[in-house]
Subunit: 410 residues, 2 copies
Amino acid sequence: MRGEILCIGDELISGRISDRNARYAAGRLWPLGLGLAGFSYLGDDPDEIVRELREALARCDWLVVSGGLGTTEDDLTAAAAARALGLPLVEHPQKVAELEALITSLGRPLTPENRRMALMPEGAEPLDPRSAGFAITVEGGKSLYFLPGVPPEFARIIERRVAPELGARFGSGHLASASIRLFGIGESEVGRRLAGLVNGVPGASLGYYPVFPEVILALSARAETPELAQERVATLETQCLERLEGLVVVRGAQTLEARVGELLKSAGLTLACAESCTGGLIGHRVTEVAGSSAYFLRGYVVYSNPAKQDLLGVTAATLTSHGAVSAQCAAEMATGARERAGADLALAVTGIAGPEGGSPDKPVGTVWFGLAQAGGVLTEHKRFAGDRSMVKLQAAENALDLLRRHLEGL
Amino acid sequence: MRGEILCIGDELISGRISDRNARYAAGRLWPLGLGLAGFSYLGDDPDEIVRELREALARCDWLVVSGGLGTTEDDLTAAAAARALGLPLVEHPQKVAELEALITSLGRPLTPENRRMALMPEGAEPLDPRSAGFAITVEGGKSLYFLPGVPPEFARIIERRVAPELGARFGSGHLASASIRLFGIGESEVGRRLAGLVNGVPGASLGYYPVFPEVILALSARAETPELAQERVATLETQCLERLEGLVVVRGAQTLEARVGELLKSAGLTLACAESCTGGLIGHRVTEVAGSSAYFLRGYVVYSNPAKQDLLGVTAATLTSHGAVSAQCAAEMATGARERAGADLALAVTGIAGPEGGSPDKPVGTVWFGLAQAGGVLTEHKRFAGDRSMVKLQAAENALDLLRRHLEGL
C-alpha cells in the first residue's frame, strides 16, 4: 500500500511559517508500515488543490490532508475535495447539530461562517465533534482524511482516528528502530563501510544524514512480531558498530553533551573548560544539558595570548617557542584551568579557525586538545577541513568526544 | 510561470528530522514573483523520484530539488534526474578536477565515492566548486536546479545561484530587495503590525520567516527600471521600520555579531564577556566573525557562584542579599570582567535558563544583563519564554543587541 500527506496554505509555501503537521503525522504513521511515500505543500489555490488531490488519489491507497478547513474565505479544502471526487458539497446534518450545541453552550449564536465547518463531500463523515474535518472512503477502498491545520487539533485527530484506523486497515508487521551518532567520518565513508550490510538482515533498512559535524545513522527493521523486529535491528546495529569502530560518539537519541553529562554525574566529577578557537562553544554545548550546573564549574575563553597567561598560567616560554597552537600550550591551558577552577577534569582547545592565521607549518584547521585529570594531562592533535564555523564545530565535538572516551575508559 | 521545490530523503518523510531547506528557499523565492506553487517531500525511492520529477516537470517552468546528491548508496537523485529527463548519467570532467583539487588539498586521495559527486545528467553544469549539485536547462527553457541537502550548502547555493538566476530569467521587470532582522517579536505580531503595507506600494512584496530567536523580514519590489524598484523597496522599508521601531537588530544581510564587530572595530574598542546562563554562547557568536581576535580579548564562563567571585570579584554580599540573578550581580560581573580583562567594554549575562531553578520571584527565563564601559555600568532585565535552549538563544541575542544599541548611540 501507499499513502501521502498533503498540507494546504499560502503561509506554508511562502516560507512564513513552518509546518509541524506533516512531520508529526509522518512520525506517527511511518513506523506503522503504511507505505508513506511523501508529503506535499500547496498554496490556497483551488485548482492546484483539485489537481493534486486527483493525482495523489490515483497513486495512493490513503491520503491525509491538513488545512484549509476553517470558517474563512481562504478555507477551500472541502469544496476542492468535492470537486476532485466528483461529489456534491453538502452540509452534514449531524455536524451542524454538533456545532450548534458546541457554540450555543459558549453563549453565542451559530453563524453562517460557523456552518461552513459542516460542509463536506456527500458521503463523508465528521472526524471529531470539536473540530472541522471529515473522512471519506472512495472507490477501491481508498481512505481520505481531511484534518484542520491547527496543530493541536491535527495531532489529536491523528492520534484518535487516523493512526489507529489506518494501522488496522493497512499496517504490516512491527517496526523496531535505533540510531547512532558518528563523528570524524563523512557520509561517503559511512556509505563505503556499510555497503551491503542491509541486504544481510531481512526487513532491515539503513539511512544516514549529516547534522554537521556529526553523521546520524538511522537503523530500522520490520518483522511479524515486535521481538523479531527488535532482534533484527539489534543484529544490524552490532554489524554497523563493528564497521564503524572508533567513530561512534553516542548510541541512541542522546546528544554527545548529554552523554558526557551523564558520565560526569555518575562518576561524581566536575569539569572546567579552557577555550581559544572555539570561543565558548564547548561551554555552550555543555550547558545545553539541564542540570549541568551540578558538574560544570566554569569556562575560560582565552582568545588573546595575555588571557592565556593571566587566566591559566600559560608561560611566555611556551608561547614563544611553541606558539599558542601547540601541544605544550594545550597542556598548560588544561592544567591551569583544572587547578584554578578546582575541577576534577579540564578540557582545553587551541587552534586556527581561519580564514587568517594559518602557516605552512600550522595550516588553518590545525587544532590541539588537552585533557587534564588527576593523573596528568593528555593531548591530541587534529586537522579539520572547512570554513571558520565548521572548524569550530568540529573542534568542540572532538573536545567533548575526547572527554567521553576518557570517561568511558577507552 | 510556475515552479516547485522537491526535497528528497527518508529522514524527512519518516518525521525523524525537520526540513529547513524548502522553507528557506520559499522565503527567498516567493518574494521574487516566480510563481512558487508548492513543495513536495519524497523518500529515497528511485521510482518515486523519477515519477515526481516527470510530473513536476510537466507542470512547471522551474524546479529546485534538495538532497540525495552525496556520495553514498542512498544518494539517488542524480541517477533519477537522468532517468526522468531521458539523458545519460555522465561524469562531469571539470567537477572531477575541482573535487580532486579540493580533496588533495586536504591531504587525502580522491576515492570512487568522492567521484560520485561529479555524476550528473549529460548537459548539466555544476553549481558550486565546494559542493555537489548541478543545474540543467531542458526543453521549453525549463530550469532545473539540483542542490545538496546539507542546509548551509543548500542556502549558499540558493543565495548565490538559484535566486539571482531564476529572478533574472523568470522574474518580470527589475527587482530590488532588502532584509531586516528583528528580535523580540513573534511572527504573528509582525504580520499584525505590517498588515496592509504591501498594498500601498506597487510591485512590492513582503515575506517573513523565523530563524530563532530572530524573525527575518524579506522585502522586495519590482518595477520597470532598477531605480524605480530601488525606490519602491526603500519606501516599503521605511514604512516597515516605522511600524517595527525598537525591534530591528540589523538591516541588511549582516548578522548581529558581524554588525557588533564592525562597530567595535571602527570605534577601536575591545570587548570581554562574562557569561553565566548562556554558558559561552555569546563568546561563540562573537568569534564566528573572521578577525574577531582584533577586538575580542577573553570571556569568563562563570557558571558557579565561586567562579563569579574568584574570576570577576562578585561580592558574597551581593550573592547573599540579591542572588546571582540580579542587577547587582550583572553589574559586578560586567565591571569585574572589564577591569580584569583590561577591555574597553564588557558584557555580562546572568539568568535562569531552566527547567529547574525558577521561583515565584524569579521565574525561569528571568535574565539580567550588564554592560560596563568607561562611564559606568548599564543594566537591563528581560524575561524570555521557551525552553532552556530558547532562553539561552534569546539571552545571547539580547546581550549582543544591548552592545549594538550602545555602540550606535541609541
